[in-house]
Amino acid sequence: MGYQILGKKGLSQLMEVLCTVFQVLGVILIASLPWTLNYYLLLKNTTVEPRIYYSMIVLLVISGICAFTILIQAKKVLHNINSKSPFTFDTANRIKYISYLCLPVALAYIIGIFFIPSVFVILVGLTFLFLAACIFIIAELFYQAVKYKQENDLTI
């Protein structure tokens, strides 16, 4: 495999571009959510109660807003990685924010189980809860890495 992961023309660069693409797609999707959801239900040839319909909209809007903010942070983190200075307090802070932003999504989906009768709702909720914990640990590792890097930079 001659494909590089870090730096320009690497996977991280592709991901940075994809973040922007997903942000644009996400905004379009969230802005047109009432129509898209109707179209989706029409396509599946099903109808849902208004209570479930509005719960779905609220849930998707909450996760959409959080995902948008996560993408902003992820883009900055990837930018730091691409500019060859990944181990800075800025990166560590942004990774920590991402883990915090996973929590509202997890909470929304866990509460959502009371409104939407689907096993996938609780599954997404638990997944985001798990992700938040994992990312928080990675953020802590980054803080330690920054300390080691500073120590290393000041060793002559």
Partner: protein, 77 residues
């Protein structure tokens, strides 16, 4: 830091410029500046060896231990 780096004193004794020393030991002037201003957290034995060779001196000539005030207070007690 209770360890003081006296590279500039030795440089003056040997009448050598910082840039010249940096070139001789193969480090950047920025790193030498960190060392001279006591901002460095550690010094590699290899760097120390190069500095001693370039300045023709002993490690003791460029490094000095000055007890910090807290340590002095501890010893007095």
């Amino acid at each position: 830091m209770p360890i003081i780096v006296n590279v500039d004193v030795m440089l003056a004794k040997r009448k050598m410029s910082s840039t010249e020393l940096a070139e001789k030991i193969g480090i950047t002037t920025a790193n030498l500046s960190i060392l001279k201003t006591n901002k460095a957290k550690a010094i590699r034995f290899s760097t120390l060896e190069e500095i001693c060779r370039a300045l023709n001196c002993q490690p003791g000539d460029i490094l000095e231990y000055v007890p910090s005030e807290e340590k002095i207070a501890e010893i007095d007690e």
